[in-house]
Symmetry: C2
DNA sequence: CACTTGTCCTGTCATGCCGTCAGCTTACCG
DNA sequence: CGGTAAGCTGACGGCATGACAGGACAAGTG
């Protein structure tokens, strides 16, 4: 599946080359965490990696290209989110449990990858299809599974039948992503971190099942 | 309240100066809509405004400074969102009406100002307090009003009392903002635009009142 | 061991944007 | 009409970008 790693000018990268390439990606990741996306410069990344700008351009067309690579890898890793919803029950106490674990997993994942996720979100919002695809890949793993649950509860008459399951699931997932990406600044709008988790869990449970959770 | 407009080097701006300044802001706004934030350069803005980069730096410290100015004005304008929730009822059919109009107003506002709102969101997520404050200013107008409604319904026993009203309201508002900022790309994750509105309205109504809307 | 081959890195260069300054032009006012 | 402050820009040093050719290095070959 993963073809050979290639440089911009078409050579195949060997062991040493892949190591520097990886180091550049790592340093770029750190830079994204510590400074605004707009101010991340190739020369800074190269310096931090102990190499020169020319080397960077041998492996990536530009900063955006490298960011896409990081995002792609994280997207693959992000399929771990699927485990949070796949095969879970939304009935009774188990449903409350499911909602809580989904929220926790989401916040955790976002906290761990906040820098790159910010950039993906921006790219997608700006209309860049490559970023939009990656964002969809990450969220869809949760999204489609939630949509299935909604559709199932619809057939039992618990949820309004003329609503689109995908739209409900998508909105809830977007909510989780949005809150997660601003969780650091939550206190700025007068909410304590600890209050966020239960509230989100209740909202998710309400949205999926149409009922308040039984704890 | 609004002090005199001043240039970077301390002069007071006269009629002509304020016009140029405004033109620069307008052009920057257009640039933000048409190209990625990362690629917006001072020289492009200046060229489009029919002036020189040096002039830009006379009125703004840098691109970010000008963006903050645009954001600030929009935040003032954005208090129009307050009208969507202030003094509205969440009971019965009126409640469903309120939810729908809130969603509509939100999506509309976002569609009109998507470019600048994207940048504000990014800045806030990156931890810049100036952007966070502006974002809070926009969202708080809706947020606090919603929180009041939740608190009121809590006292009637309709909503769980150990949940933070501010956290619930904040999460719902974050959802609206997130979906709004990705509404163009909604089809990418398999949802039609038209399906979004009712789903969001239902979720908001559920979150605030704890009950499905009666239509 | 010298030689070859192909990968890997960097010095260097042209180009273009950044951010600042001195200085020129324009408008206003007594 | 002269003085004063506002308004604008040309020009400049500095730095990032992106391309290239060539040197360093490791591994295989006779």
């Amino acid at each position: 599946m993963t073809g050979q790693v290639r440089t911009v000018d078409g050579r195949v990268a060997g062991r040493r080359g892949q190591a520097t390439r990886q180091k550049l990606l790592d340093c770029l990741s750190e830079m994204l965490s510590s400074s605004p996306y707009r101010d991340v410069k190739v020369i800074d990344v190269a310096r931090r990696a102990g190499t020169s700008p020319a080397t960077f351009y041998q492996y990536f067309p530009d900063v955006e290209g490298a960011v896409l690579e990081i995002a792609d890898r994280m997207a693959a890793d992000g399929s771990a989110l699927t485990a949070l919803v796949e095969g879970r029950s939304w009935a009774g106490k188990a449903g409350w449990q499911t909602a809580q674990e989904l929220v926790d997993g989401f916040l955790e994942f976002w906290k761990k990858n906040d820098a790159i996720l910010r950039v993906i979100d921006l790219g997608a919002a700006e209309g860049d299809k490559r970023f939009a695809r990656i964002r969809a890949k990450i969220l869809n793993s949760v999204n489609s599974s939630l949509a299935d649950s909604v559709a199932e509860l619809q057939s039992k008459g618990r949820v309004d039948k003329d609503l689109s399951p995908a739209a409900i699931a998508g909105s809830l997932v977007a909510m989780l992503a949005a809150v997660a990406s601003h969780q650091k600044g939550a206190s700025a709008w007068g909410v304590k971190q600890a209050e966020l988790r239960p509230s989100l869990a209740v909202l998710v449970h309400l949205g999926i099942t149409g009922r308040k959770p039984t704890r």
